[in-house]
Amino acid sequence: MSTQTEIDKILTLEEIFSLYPDEWVLIVNPELDEEFSVIRGEVLAHATERDEIYSKLSLRNGKSVAIEYTGSIPDNLAVML
């Protein structure tokens, strides 16, 4: 498990996926399309575990954020809640 905070730099979603593969990322001031997909934003924090990134929400200081998982979802992921 690791969590890191990042310096401000506006990145496209493609760049974020490339820089932080298989991680949860917190993207501050995200530019979203009409379906709320991130176009670009600043990576505020990244972590391997979802709950680690939730704990970093306090860093947003009232700014809007998007929570994104950059890994692929296994095709065989099956759920019964």
């Binding site: 704990s55 929400l57 947003r60 009232g62 759920v79």
Partner: protein, 135 residues
Amino acid sequence: MPAYQKVYRLLRYGQNLLAVQATVGSREGGDFVRVRLLVDTGSSFTILPVQVLQNLGYDTRNPLRRQELVTGQGRIYAPVINVSWFNCVGQFIENFDVFAHDIPPNLRIDGLLGMDFLTRFQAVISVGDAEIRFE
């Protein structure tokens, strides 16, 4: 055949699942957190993570009420929180009641879009096309 105002794409997710992205407004209403939710016709209500709601300024320890939910892991009493606004698949709702509960992290998703939302807007889901439509 009804005419549909708008069609939104859903995200194919894992095995036979559909997901969607949503934004939740803070208690003050100006800022938001965007999350990814599983579209779940088996869930009566929309479920959002506890820490996300707390960080948006909602007091999950003093909810509107606690309601029993029967889950795959047993019964829980989840806090019901009224969020200032909720926006998903083009539908904007002010003062929307959601349940604060963390679903298992290994699903790699933040919460559930439940039947409360889907029924409210008379959503029609095409699982074949991975689309949601509204009359």
